[in-house]
């Protein structure tokens, strides 16, 4: 166990190091921000002064060491656009909004998928399965940003039930969360459905029926714990595309999360903010993978011992 933790931590640190380095190289690729930050009629002296202040006059390796030293000391660089404001602070300020939307959206998607699949299997209904999978596939053929717009069109513009932008109103989370949840729905429904059918053919399922368990106990009590394991694994693998989807949804609904911040930083060429965002996303990615591993171990005793 200790060995496992050590390798895992080392892996995590290596990943973060790679992201930090790539971010540095990309930042230098864009060249000095002087042209962006100063007015067109800035003097040579002004430009030089800015470059010296940002360290752009040093050779690349020196800049890199300085940059790493800064990060170790918790300095991720100031925003180009908001002078004196740490880019990391800007990102962390947006983190709760992203986390709450992502968590609620994902949870809702999983709840919907589990509910649909369990119902299908309890009822042993082919029609239900086809309906759920068909609806889910149709939803997947609609880009997230357009599905979000359709929701706005129906629930905000036409019905006037829900606010379409921001996160001031507690109800504002409904549509972005639904957009995320419905996008995830078919992925998990299909997986869980396959997985449940597979488990249902195994001997232990027959043992449970033979000892007199009812259908609900067999499906939910016996098959489901085993069937959720692959779903968890895939959830971890899909995390990347899930985070990508989050960026899009935040922008559709003007949800003030990290994705929206990073994108507006792209438009304003505020590289330090994008860089801090990437580092935070990488950290989140690693953390979520650890959580999934922990959850698998919790369900499956065989994983625990390994």
């Amino acid at each position: 166990m200790a060995r496992f933790l050590v390798t895992r931590t080392l892996q995590a640190l290596a990943t973060i190091f790679v992201v930090v380095t790539v971010a540095f190289l990309l930042g230098r690729l864009s060249g000095s921000p002087a042209a962006l930050l100063l007015t067109e009629n800035a003097t040579r002296e002004q430009i030089d002064e800015l470059n010296t202040r940002l360290g752009f006059d040093q050779p690349l390796p020196v800049q890199y060491v300085e940059y790493l030293r800064g990060i170790l000391g918790g300095d991720f660089g100031d925003s180009y656009r908001q002078a004196g404001v740490s880019s990391m602070d800007l990102v962390l300020e947006r983190l709760p909004a992203s986390l709450s939307l992502g968590a609620i959206g994902l949870a809702l998607g999983l709840v919907l998928a589990f509910a649909a699949t369990i119902t299908t299997h309890l009822a042993r209904s082919r029609t239900l399965r086809t309906t759920f999978l068909g609806l889910g596939s149709a939803r997947q053929a609609i880009p997230d940003f357009f599905f979000g717009l359709l929701l706005v069109l129906v629930f905000s513009v036409t019905l006037g039930w829900l606010p379409s932008l921001g996160n001031r109103d507690p109800l504002a989370i409904v549509m972005p969360a639904l957009t995320i949840a419905t996008a995830q729905f078919v992925v998990y429904t299909r997986l869980l459905d396959n997985s449940l059918s597979e488990q249902g053919r195994l001997d232990y399922a027959r043992t449970a029926v033979a000892r007199g368990e009812n259908r609900f106990r067999v499906v939910v009590g016996e098959l489901l714990p085993n069937a959720s394991l692959p779903v968890l694994t895939i959830a971890a693998i899909n995390l990347g595309s899930f985070l990508g989807g989050l960026v899009i949804v935040e922008n559709v609904f003007a949800w003030p999360g990290m994705g929206q911040l990073m994108l507006s930083a792209v438009y304003s060429r505020d590289f330090p903010v994008v860089q801090s965002g990437l580092i935070v996303v990488a950290a989140l990615f690693i953390l979520s993978n650890l959580l999934v591993d922990a959850a698998s171990a919790l369900i499956d005793p065989r994983v625990r011992r390994a």
């Binding site: 053919r201 195994l202 001997d203 232990y204 027959r206 043992t207 449970a208 029926v209 033979a210 000892r211 007199g212 368990e213 009812n214 106990r217 009590g221 016996e222 714990p225 085993n226 369900i299 499956d300 005793p301 065989r302 011992r305």
Partner: protein, 338 residues
């Protein structure tokens, strides 16, 4: 025989309908009776329909297969027409089953004790926790699991195959069933463990007085435990009788062949008899006797290829055979077992 009838199966057919709606029968018109406290063995090669027959009795047919005809009376009640709820009340209670492969018969993510406890709880949901735990320990002790309190808290992957099969038997015996169905309970185990498991089954039956249907292809096992025996071939029963009449006077060439391959194999030096060929697929069974193409009975005739033999009394009413030439099999049987 004076012991009352516990289970009576009549004309049971199991199968599916193919794309054209035609019936494909994997089990075809099978019938037998099990008396209280007695042991019936269903014997046959894999694919002969013996496991499917008993799966149908318990309503455990795999998806896609259905009962096409017949009745299954347990204490006079037809299990095939029983509502699911009432059938469930019998399963694991009066009717219990032990499966072939103990490595897969237990849920890998649940503690063994908890799974046995479920067998108690499924039928006595309001039993206090302490009482269930005590019962689980008692059951594990009965099937010879050492240190039961401790082991009940571990997971299946921490148990050996033989121990897992004991746990499965403990689960089956949890509610003192009247009928235990054991589907090749020792096939997946090491030879050294097989005898132990048969002992455990015998002990469990001795304490509970349960009748047993043992599904097996191992005639050696049959000789040890069976009272009566049904030989199945290609979905049908081809010979039925008490174990010693069948063993001593095989009235079907298939039975004779099975005995031949067993007995001559045990005798060093002699050439083991082997039945030539393999059984026909359920979709292309011949119009006559399904065994005709493999039959080496000298007395076999044209009739075998054209008319299907029905099961009828051969020597006396308790010994039946589905062979047109049941009266001419003894010599053949003696020849192949010699």
């Amino acid at each position: 025989m004076t012991t009352p009838v516990l289970l009576r199966v009549d004309d049971l057919s199991v199968g599916y309908r193919d794309a054209d709606g035609a019936e494909v029968r994997l089990v075809d018109g099978v019938g037998f009776t099990v008396h209280e406290g007695r042991v019936l063995c269903l014997v046959g090669e894999s694919g002969s329909g013996k496991s499917l027959t008993m799966a149908a009795v318990l309503g455990l047919l795999p998806e896609g297969l259905e009962v096409l005809s017949g009745t299954v009376r347990f204490r006079g009640q037809d299990l095939l027409t029983l509502p699911e709820r009432e059938l469930r009340a019998l399963r694991g209670n009066e009717l219990a089953m032990v499966f072939q492969d103990p490595m897969t018969a237990l849920n890998p993510v649940k503690r063994v004790g908890a799974q046995i406890a479920r067998a108690v709880r499924a039928h006595h949901p309001r039993t206090p926790r302490a009482q269930v735990l005590a019962r689980v320990e008692e059951l594990l002790t009965e099937v010879g699991v050492p240190d039961p309190a401790e082991r009940a808290r571990s997971y299946p992957h921490q148990w050996s195959g033989g121990m897992r099969q004991r746990a499965v038997i403990a689960m089956a015996m949890a509610n003192r069933p009247a009928l235990l169905i054991a589907d090749e309970p020792t096939t997946a185990l090491d030879v050294t463990i097989q005898a132990q498991i048969m002992d455990v089954l015998a002990d469990a039956r001795a304490t509970s007085g349960a009748a047993m249907v043992l599904i097996t292809h191992d005639l050696g096992l049959v000789a040890q435990v069976a009272d009566e025996i049904c030989i199945m071939y290609a979905g049908r029963i081809v010979e039925r009788g008490t174990v010693w009449t069948v063993f001593d006077e095989a009235r079907h060439p298939y039975t004779a062949g099975l005995l031949g391959s067993l007995l001559s194999a045990e005798r060093a030096g002699s050439r083991a008899y082997a039945i030539p060929g393999s059984p026909p697929a359920p979709t292309r069974r011949p119009p006559g006797c399904a065994f005709a193409t493999r039959c080496e009975l000298p007395a076999r005739s044209e009739l075998c290829g054209t008319t299907r033999p029905e099961l009828r009394p051969a020597a006396d009413v308790t010994h039946e055979s589905a062979c047109h030439h049941a009266d001419r099999t003894l010599e053949f049987a003696r020849a192949v077992t010699a």
